[in-house]
């Protein structure tokens, strides 16, 4: 019964959260955005006191139900572990907690947060890891199905679905997502919740709290006949049936043991006596992230193959039309922050790189950074589109407060960068034609056209930029006819400011 409630809630929660991570239309975030906001690490980084208090209380009352229901990575592991259990029943056995590893990881994690080593933080944050897997691996499939439906809809002259570009946002992130997927899946396949109890820093923190939880599974020694069925079905490997002891720091309150026990010897109840120290059972060979090199290689190969396939699909040029070169990313000295971010530093410290904003960006502007200090955190670039004035979606979805909520009006006066004109690329001068496309599309009127020859007011007109009015939205860069490098591009700022 309890197990079924847990399973139902977990499936519901993880399913909806995944759907929200997949959504590119911007409709689900309004309804489901809270699911990302109640995730532990984003809430901590956003200093979302209400959520933190709620999660602490939840754990102090019910144990680590967070890990079983709210955390999508936990539910994902349960799914893998459940599949593995189909092949081999009663496959777990008790093992000792690897304290040095889990507390070591937690310590490193805290140090990394404080020291601002974000690439390390975002790599192990459970919600972010899951977000990346969905964004990099599942979303392309999701959009692919959507595009198929859109084609059908087009044939039926319906506008219910529209096609959306699938593109490789970042190879490193894809590789990281694949590697995470493989490591977590293999660990879950072999050892259930090994990841959560040895590596995941959130698991360790909540595990520390759940020792003291009010309700927990308790073994009734009078009824227990020591059959060990509970132990062999405990995916956290935390039940020592011989000792009738449960390590509550590792128990994720999945209720499987209660369900399994044929004699009804385990109850989800208040525990009165303190647990006897679990015996030293030396057989902890669970953690085997060892032969990763081969897998990483395979992952890379797969990633490369995927890129090639994507590229081939992208090149679609009709016969009677002029060929259009793809835009190339200009070298920006300062990366561009999304409007709603405060400063580069604040952003780097708060973003958990969950890729929610990247998945949600409808204009193909946000993509994960590849530089080490901002690894996988989003940045803006304008080859595929520009930061459109009516869109505030990334600020709506960010669960960690890295991108603060911003209104359309605020956005239209928030400067994230400024445009720079590059004479040698401007087609007015190179091709000797009239243009002014940047000026026509500037939403703030920051661009004016002036004669290229000061002494000749009738000479071809070139753009000049009033950087005081420029907000760095990239309309000019994106719509500049010069290819592959635009003649006008946006240079980012370290802090966003209101103009």
């Amino acid at each position: 019964m309890l197990k079924n409630i847990r399973r139902t809630l977990a499936i519901l929660f993880a399913g909806l959260l995944t759907l929200m991570l997949l959504d590119f239309t911007g409709t689900l975030h309004a309804w489901l955005g809270w699911m990302a906001k109640v995730q532990f690490l984003p809430a901590v980084l956003a200093l979302n006191v209400g959520v933190i208090v709620f999660l602490v209380l939840l754990t102090l009352i019910f144990g680590r139900v967070y890990c079983s229901v709210i955390c999508p990575l936990g539910v994902f592991q349960d799914l893998v572990s459940w599949l593995a259990g189909k092949r081999k029943k009663n496959r777990f056995r008790h093992s000792k907690a690897i304290n040095w590893l889990r507390y070591g990881m937690l310590a490193l994690f805290v140090v990394a947060i404080v020291a601002g080593i974000n690439s390390f933080v975002v790599l192990f944050a459970p919600y972010s890891a899951y977000g990346r897997m969905v964004s990099a691996l599942l979303q392309p499939i999701y959009i692919g199905i959507n595009n198929l439906l859109a084609q059908l809809a087009e044939r039926m002259d319906s506008y219910a679905f529209y096609t959306f570009d699938v593109w490789m946002k970042s190879l490193p992130v894809l590789i990281v997502a694949i590697a995470t997927f493989i490591v977590v899946a293999v660990l879950a396949w072999r050892g259930g919740r090994t990841w959560c109890n040895t590596i995941c820093p959130v698991g360790t923190v909540l595990g520390f709290l759940s020792r003291f939880s009010w309700l927990k599974p308790v073994i009734d020694t009078d009824k227990c006949n020591g059959c060990g069925l509970c132990e062999r079905n405990c995916k956290a490997s935390c039940i020592n049936s011989r000792e009738h002891a449960i390590d509550y720091s590792r128990c994720v309150a999945c209720m499987d043991c209660i369900d399994k026990c044929k004699r009804g010897a385990i109850k989800y109840a208040r525990r009165t006596e303190s647990p006897s120290k679990p015996m030293a059972a030396p057989s902890a060979s669970d953690v085997h992230p060892s032969d990763n090199s081969r897998r990483a290689f395979l992952a890379t190969a797969a990633a490369v193959a995927a890129t090639a396939a994507l590229k081939a699909e992208e090149k679609k040029v009709d016969g009677g039309l002029a060929e259009i070169l793809d835009k190339k990313v200009p070298e920006r000295q300062t990366p561009i922050l999304p409007p709603g971010a405060l400063t580069a530093k604040h952003f780097a410290q708060h973003c958990t790189a969950c890729q929610l904003c990247v998945s949600a960006c409808p204009n193909g502007v946000l993509r994960p950074a590849t530089s080490l200090d901002r690894f996988m955190q989003p940045e803006l670039s304008y080859e595929r589109g520009y930061c459109r004035p009516e869109c505030t979606r990334c600020s709506e979805v960010c669960p960690a407060g890295a991108i603060q909520p911003i209104t359309r009006e605020e956005k239209s006066s928030t400067q994230v960068g400024h445009a720079v004109w590059i004479r040698k690329n401007c087609i007015v001068l190179t091709d000797d034609v009239n243009c002014g496309n940047c000026q026509r599309h500037c939403p703030t009127g920051a661009i004016q056209m002036v004669p290229s020859d000061e002494s000749n007011p009738r000479s071809r007109r070139i753009p000049v930029i009033d950087v005081e009015r420029c907000i760095g939205c990239g309309a000019c860069e994106n719509l500049c006819p010069a290819r592959p490098y635009s003649a006008i591009y946006v240079e980012g700022h370290l802090a966003t400011k209101t103009i």
Partner: protein, 462 residues
């Protein structure tokens, strides 16, 4: 137009329809008991061919020309991959042959092409299809084109003329036209007079390799008069002249004047754009209702064809029939032609006034403006805009009833019809296209206007 009703499908009803479609397909696949006696194929009207094709006789040569002429500017295309895996459009020759077979079998004997059409491939394709018939069973018309100044020299022009014969696999051309004479008389002199081409072509006519010499015209009345003056003065005898004529242009762009001038001189008229590139077939709902109420079993397009064919001075009416159903529909309209009565003509002039109220852009999808050097798909943008105008998907303000649906239809349809990189916001206003448009659409201005409109829809600032 026959699909309009589905525009406002919601997601749910879409899935429902999809589901039932799948079921229906499955039922057909397993049941295989579809009705056999479906009657004539109907394409917006009855295609039952009533009798024989109407023919008009050329006053001097005695050619018996079918009133329906085949315009070879819009042959069906198919997509193929070239050796680099890049998708390309080429003419679907099998389909062309099939269309020509059907047309020949039903009496169409006038085929009009040009070395410029379909990226220069139309003549060859037309030649392949016609080569399978005796040379005397069809008349072929082609043109001395003028789109690129590099072809204006005498040598290049003569080469173009000979290339046409080679591509069409003929040793004489029945109807030869100076392509698209316009308002700029200087250009005409440069292109055809100064280089001696006009004399050369008249010589060819004397030799019998050109049976009729004429020109196609896109311009104003004054310019037309100047070209006719050459005829009146005896400088050159025009055997026929090709003009744009339809019930919308009859009064609007003075096709009436052009026609009357030609009739007065007894010069046979070949009609182009009788349907304005389909614009007189894709009309707003209430126009469909108006036309259909009078002739429920005739297509909307049939009115335009009957209009163009009715005047006695018309030798042939060209139609760029891409699809078999277009061909069948036109054959039904012209086999035989039922001339319009005076009252029916008036009815169409009134209809024209109603259509003119709709702010469509007069693009006929001739693609003379293409390729745009900056990669835009100009006709696709204009056609999408016109489609939305006709279907009533151009909201004027956010307060309009059904604003959200109209907005979605416009924006989603826009991305479907035109890839993002080829949309109007990429128009830089270089004006390269302007001179090429026979309808004299100020393309860059329209592009920027549509772009502004799209922006106001996207930003919801309408």
């Amino acid at each position: 137009m026959d699909k309009n009703n589905n525009n406002n499908l919601t997601r749910r009803s879409f899935i429902k329809t999809l589901g039932s479609g799948v079921l229906a397909t499955a039922a057909v696949m397993t049941g295989c008991s579809g009705k056999k006696e479906q009657g004539a194929i109907t394409y917006g009207g009855s295609t039952e061919i009533l009798g024989e094709m109407t023919y008009r006789t050329h006053p001097t040569s005695g050619d018996k020309v079918s009133i329906l002429g085949y315009g070879c500017m819009r042959w069906p295309q198919k997509k193929v991959k070239d050796e680099n895996g890049k998708e390309q459009e080429i003419i679907d020759q099998d389909m062309v042959n099939e269309l020509v077979d059907y047309a020949m079998a039903h009496g169409v004997n006038y085929y009009d092409t040009s070395p410029a059409y379909l990226r220069g491939k139309s003549e060859q394709s037309t030649g392949i299809a016609l080569k399978r018939y005796p040379r005397e069973s069809y008349y072929v018309a082609t043109k001395l084109s003028n789109f690129s100044r590099s072809t204006w020299s005498r040598e290049a022009s003569i080469k173009m003329y000979h290339d046409s014969m080679r591509e069409l696999q003929v040793d004489y051309i029945d109807y030869y036209l100076l392509h698209s004479l316009g308002n700029d008389y200087g250009n005409f002199e440069q292109r055809y007079v100064v280089n001696g081409m006009l004399d050369y072509l008249q010589e060819e006519r004397r030799e019998g390799r050109i049976r009729h010499l004429g020109f196609s015209f896109h311009g104003n009345n004054e310019a037309f008069d100047r070209y006719l003056k050459l005829h009146d003065e005896g400088t050159i005898h025009w055997d026929f002249i090709q003009i744009q004529m339809n019930y919308l242009d009859w009064k609007n762009s003075d096709a009436e004047y052009l026609y009357v001038q030609l009739e007065k001189r007894g010069i046979p008229v070949v009609i182009m754009e009788p349907l304005l590139g389909g614009r007189l077939s894709r009309v707003p709902d209430h126009i469909v209702r108006r036309l259909k109420t009078r002739e429920p079993e005739r297509s909307v397009a049939s009115w335009a064809f009957r209009f163009a064919g009715t005047p006695k001075g018309v030798l042939s009416v060209l139609s760029g029939m891409t699809y078999m159903e277009h061909l069948q529909d036109n054959l039904a309209s012209y086999s035989p032609l039922q001339p319009l009565t005076e009252e029916e003509n008036e009815f169409l002039y009134d209809t024209a006034e109603l259509i003119a109220k709709y702010p469509t852009i007069p693009c006929n999808d001739c693609k003379y403006c293409m390729p745009c050097p900056y990669g835009l798909d100009i006709p696709a943008i204009l056609l999408h805009y016109n489609k939305c105008v006709n279907e009533g998907n151009i909201p004027k303000s956010r307060q309009d009833e059904g604003y959200a649906e109209m907005r979605r239809a416009f924006l989603v349809g826009y991305d479907r019809s035109v890839p993002k990189l080829r949309q109007a916001d990429h128009c830089i206003g270089c004006n390269e296209c302007v001179g090429h448009c026979p309808q004299r659409i100020r393309i860059p201005r329209e592009m920027q206007r549509i772009d502004k409109y799209v922006e106001s829809l996207k930003q919801e600032t309408l």
